[in-house]
């Protein structure tokens, strides 16, 4: 086990990267604490797999360094880094039995025979593979094969970390859930650092203690599920986490403050933030938008009932604003007014959040600000 540190890490698949778009991974500084259960979340092509392969040593970074427990391993090859990795598609050695598959990494490392046998039996038991130990791996189902891939990682007692690259993609939905709980259980049992790559927020939020969100080759935020939900550092995180995602509205600058439709948010922008910036935006989660007697005038476009709550699509000019309405509250027929919870409204310059805290909204009309901060502690679970 080890603490993994990435320093100024950059990677490009090209020999001579020129523009920004040539970099698959754009400058990452990140520390993975020993024994943590991490999820690496992002849409496809954002650099998740690149980062994983850099950690495991399948790729050597173009720039920067990687440290395991303060020891530089940047130039050390994958087979010597003591990392286990489970891939998207199950990898089993077809001609071997399940037992031989599990023993393979140990045999390659010259572990003594009795020790191998002992470990293999232990791991097989843990993964419910004991009964099929002597059958050929080829004939197993997808989840059986993926368990073997996993087992080959766990069988080594010296691994620094176990990396999962969307390991449940090819698994049936009902088995997905089972295998994920198994992983969680194994994490508690082994205490190994686990990094779980996925593009599915439910998977990420249920597996991990800490989620790292990537977008366009960058780490945009790293935090607990609650942090990601309550204060997204980047509009992408707002969109990506939560269902439905955050409303991100085009803002205008009034008196060095970002505002929307005459409402400004109490975060002063500094001169360097104002100059040369391309976009000013304002973000509010649908959970924190409410219908009121006055405020932003909107047309009601669509109401969808998801069971516990109703999601209302509304429109102000050309901007779609989603509202989550709990049971029992009424929805206006076709026109209404919206209020944003001031402490929940965030501001973004060029996609990145500005201001230290979520700050209250001030309105020219002087509508009552709701004091709901204490009761809006929304857990990540309800966001998914």
């Amino acid at each position: 086990m080890a603490t993994i540190k990435l320093n100024n890490l950059r990677h490009s698949y090209l020999d001579n990267p020129r523009g920004d778009e040539d970099w698959a991974l754009k400058k990452v500084d990140l520390t993975w604490e020993d024994g943590g259960a991490y999820a690496l979340l992002g849409s496809s092509g954002c650099g998740k797999t690149t980062m994983l392969n850099l950690i495991s040593g399948l790729l050597t970074p173009s720039e920067g360094s990687i440290q395991f427990d303060n020891k530089d391993v940047t130039q050390i090859r994958a087979e010597e880094r003591n990392i286990a990795q489970v891939f998207q598609f199950p990898v089993v050695y077809d001609t071997m039995t399940v037992r031989e598959n599990l023993a393979f990494p140990l045999r390659n490392r010259g572990v003594a025979k009795p020790e191998i046998d002992k470990r293999v039996v232990e791991i097989a038991q843990m993964l419910d593979l004991s009964e099929s130990l002597d059958t050929r791996a080829q004939g197993l189902t997808a989840d059986g094969k993926q368990k073997i891939s996993l087992g080959r990682g766990l069988v080594r007692s010296d691994v620094n970390a176990i990396l999962f690259d969307e390991p449940l993609t090819v698994i049936d939905p009902h088995l997905k859930w089972q295998l994920r709980s198994k992983l969680k259980e194994l994490h508690q049992q082994f205490g190994a650092t686990m990094i779980y790559v996925t593009h599915d927020q439910t998977e990420a939020l249920t597996f991990a203690d800490k989620v790292v969100v990537m977008h366009d080759g960058m780490v945009v935020q790293s935090g607990t599920p609650v942090e990601l939900f309550e204060s997204p550092e980047h509009t992408f995180v707002g969109h990506f986490i939560g269902s439905p995602g955050m409303n991100v509205l085009p803002g205008s600058v009034v008196d060095e403050r970002i505002g929307y439709c005459g409402y400004t948010v109490d975060a002063h922008l500094r001169a360097d933030q104002l100059n040369g910036a391309d976009s000013f935006e304002l973000g509010i989660r649908p959970e924190f938008v409410h219908f009121a007697d006055q405020g932003i005038p909107v047309d009601i476009v669509k109401v969808s009932n998801t069971g516990r709550v109703r999601i209302v699509d509304t429109r102000h000019d050309n901007d779609l604003i989603r509202v989550v309405v709990p049971e029992g509250e009424s929805i206006p027929a076709d026109k209404g007014y919206l209020q944003f919870e001031p402490y929940r409204t965030t501001t973004y310059v060029d996609g990145w959040r500005v201001g230290d805290k979520v700050t209250p909204i001030s309105s020219r009309t002087g509508a009552a600000t709701r004091s709901q901060i204490s009761q809006s502690q929304t857990s990540a679970g309800s966001a998914s």
Binding site: S56, L58, A78, F87, V91, Y93, N108, R152
Partner: protein, 287 residues
Amino acid sequence: MSQKAQNNKAWWLVMPVVILVAFNAVIPLMTVVNYSVQETFGDNVFFYEGLKWFGQVLHSERFHEALGRQFLFTGIVLLIEIPLGVAIALAMPRKGIGVSICLVLMSLPLLIPWNVVGAMWNIFALPDIGLLGKTLNAMGFDYNYTRQPFSAWATVVAMDVWHWTSLVVLLAYAGLTAIPEDYFQAARIDGASAWSVFRYIQLPKMKRVLTIAILLRFMDSFMIYTEPFVLTGGGPGNTTTFLSIDLVKMALGQFDLGPAAAMSIIYFLIILLVSWLFYTFTMRNEN
């Protein structure tokens, strides 16, 4: 595996193929069978002879020798071409312009008419004016494929290796490039050696294409006619007279139609039997 629908109307779709192939295969085969049980003295007068010709061919030393040479030749070329082809495929580049260059240049021998292959090697190996023959003799080897059986055999084998190894390379290469990258990455993580990667990943994944390669090479080398005929004419003596050469000599040269027809049928059955045995044996472990 997706379930195919039962539909006997599909016969209409295969009908053109059946008619065309039957016309080319069944009628000539019937002719051969017909000859194989009759004796003719010209003028289209035939006498039924039963299985006499089959007995004669099966007991003739000439057939035994040709058959022995045939198996020896096929065995040698398979033993050289399959491992060599796999080795070359393993060493081939995976991306870039090198792939196209390799594929195009390596395919070239496959598209040369077979008699041109023979003629080309004839010119190449001539002891006095051929590059190969002249070089070997200059190096002190006593090489003359028109006179020495060993030289003739070596030349015929070298020619077949030159002609057909590329087919094995192409098949093996296709099999190798179809292996997902994940396998190689997992093997690195597992600390597998290059040999283990070959033994446990590449070889098992190539099994299907190698089966095709071995079958095709077996069939074609067993039927070989044109190339050695042009190069050596079956000589010196009868030393490179393989089954097809012998058969054509018998049928079109000596016009011994009965024995030639009986030999054709035995020949065909041997190929069928060996192919079937090989196929069932290798595929036995599947499913």
